[in-house]
Every structure is written in C-alpha cells, then in structure tokens.
Amino acid sequence: MMRSLLIRGMLAGLAAAALALVIAWIYGEPQVGHAIAFEEAQAAASQAQTHHHGGGGAAESEVVSRTVQKTTGLITAMVVYGVAVGGLFAIAFAFAYGRIGTLGARATAGLVALGGFVAVVVVPFLKYPPTPPAVGNPDTIGGRTALYFGMVALGVLATTAAVIVQRRLLPRFGTWNATIAATVGFAVVVGIVYRLTPKPDAVAEGFPATVLWDFRIASLGIQVVLWATLGLLFGALTERAFQRVRSTQSPHISPPGGTR
C-alpha cells in the first residue's frame, strides 16, 4: 500500500515536473535571460570604472555554460524537485486519506495538493518571492536562505495546524464555519510572522520592474502547474487503483489475479 503510493507519488511528480518544465522554458527562461543581460551590463559598467567589483563573480569564467544551465541543469533541477515533492506528497496523502472527511482518493489528493501549494509555495512567496539573477545581495545569502526555509517550515506547520483545528471545530460548528475559522486563524498566524520577520530586499537600482514582475509570475505559474498536475494525476491514478482492488473483491466482475 505505502510502497505503491510512494512510487506513484514520485512518478506523478516526475510527470508534473515535465509539464512545469514547459512553462519554465516558455515563460521563465526569457526573464532569466533579461536579468542576466542586465547583470552583465552592470558588471561591464562597473568594470569600466574600477578594476573589478567585489561580490558576485557571476561574470567570471563560466563553470557551467548558459546552454547547460538552461537545458540539462534546469531539467535536472525540475525533475529532482518534482520527484522529491511527489514522494513527500504521497506521504501527506496517506495521512490525509480517510482522515479529512469522507472524501475519495481524487478529492483527497486535490486538497492535499492545494494545501501543499499554499504551505510550501504561497506562504514563502508572499514574503520572500523568487528573485531573478542580479536581484539579491550575495552577502546576505546566508540570512535569506535561513529565512526562506523558515518560511517554508512555517507554511507546513501552519497548514497542518489549520487542518487539525478545522477537524476539531467541525462537530460543533459544521464544515463551512469550521473551515472559515481555521483559515482565519491560519491567516492571522502567517500575517503576524510576516510582520515580525525582516525583509532583506536588494533589488538592484535600475533593474526593470517588468522583468521582476514577469519572472515572479512565471515562477508562480511553474509551481501552479507542478502542484495541479501532481494532485490531479496522483488522484486519478490512485482512484483507479483503489477501484481495481475493489473489483477483485467481487469475483463475478473479474477473477482474482486476472485484473492486471
């Protein structure tokens, strides 16, 4: 049971990554290209003044060419991300199935995907949105990394807590009101943390606002496609697998062992 769920999650994650890759190439890569062009123009301008500008080192000898970054590099990153997220998704599904109401596999998978998207994408996105190259001070990478992963952890904890609270309130207030109360509680907690955490913003002066906006929307689009595909595909496959198991229980529909 768990083994097949996990494998299915990883495969659905792989398929989701493949679709997300298409979005990344169509909408994301052009913005990365614009940002790198800006970065290089700036580096060239400051190199004309002084000998060398001291932090980034992006314009130095290339360790990995742009072509590789755009193709094998991006493919590897997306595929590994998709498989890892898919595996974790399968575990979350196993915990959620049969525990968040009388929902089928498809509806459960859809809700888990929505919850996962909010937890690990939306919550960090609103405070620490993705940054294209040339945005972000390399000196603050340590702090920003810690804050980003802290925000992911907050998203996961707050979402889990909201689901548990909703289940507790449900008998007394009904599904509708319990869901509203849990969502409001979630928003208040996340809102307070947003207010208290620092914002090490470092958008380079003169960086085109349209590129920043388009890059962030593309990044969000990649995640929407990834999580939607993961949830819907995993749900459909699991529903079908469950049905097949059920059909083996009634021998006149199909003989045991003859269902594959």
Binding site: G73, A77, F95
Partner: protein
C-alpha cells in the same frame, strides 16, 4: 496499464482501507522525508549559504532551476 499500483499478491483478499494506519505510514514517511529533503537540499541550497562539496559547480548547474523554483540563489 503500466502502473503496478495494485499489489499483485492475491493471496490475501486485498481491500481498500478506510485509512492507512499511522504505524504503516511512519517508516515510509521517514524514508521519504530523508530522501526528499536531501534531494531538495542539493537542488535548492548546496553551495549557496552552505556547502557539502567545495566549488560552485552544483550551484551553477542548478542555477536556473533555483531561481525559477523560488530558492534564494545568490
């Protein structure tokens, strides 16, 4: 079709459980969490703020993915 989702052992009558027992999930959860987090670390953070390997190859190789997936890159 190619999905080996149903355990092929038909010895015990397989049933769709109402819910998966936590005891059954836990070992797999630990396995998936460790594997998943290690993978996500190497895709998202290695040779950024912290490095297991020296150099910048992992960082540069996953560069576009990091930016587009929302990880702080540099």
């Amino acid at each position: 079709m190619a999905q080996p989702a149903v355990p092929s052992t038909q010895v015990q009558q397989p049933t769709v459980p109402l819910r998966v027992p936590v005891r059954e999930i836990l070992p797999w959860a630990v396995f998936a969490a460790v594997l998943g987090l290690v993978l996500l670390y190497f895709i998202g953070a290695e040779q950024g703020a912290t490095s297991v390997f020296s150099g910048t190859w992992v960082h540069e190789f996953t560069h576009d993915g990091r930016h587009l997936l929302g990880f702080p890159c540099h």
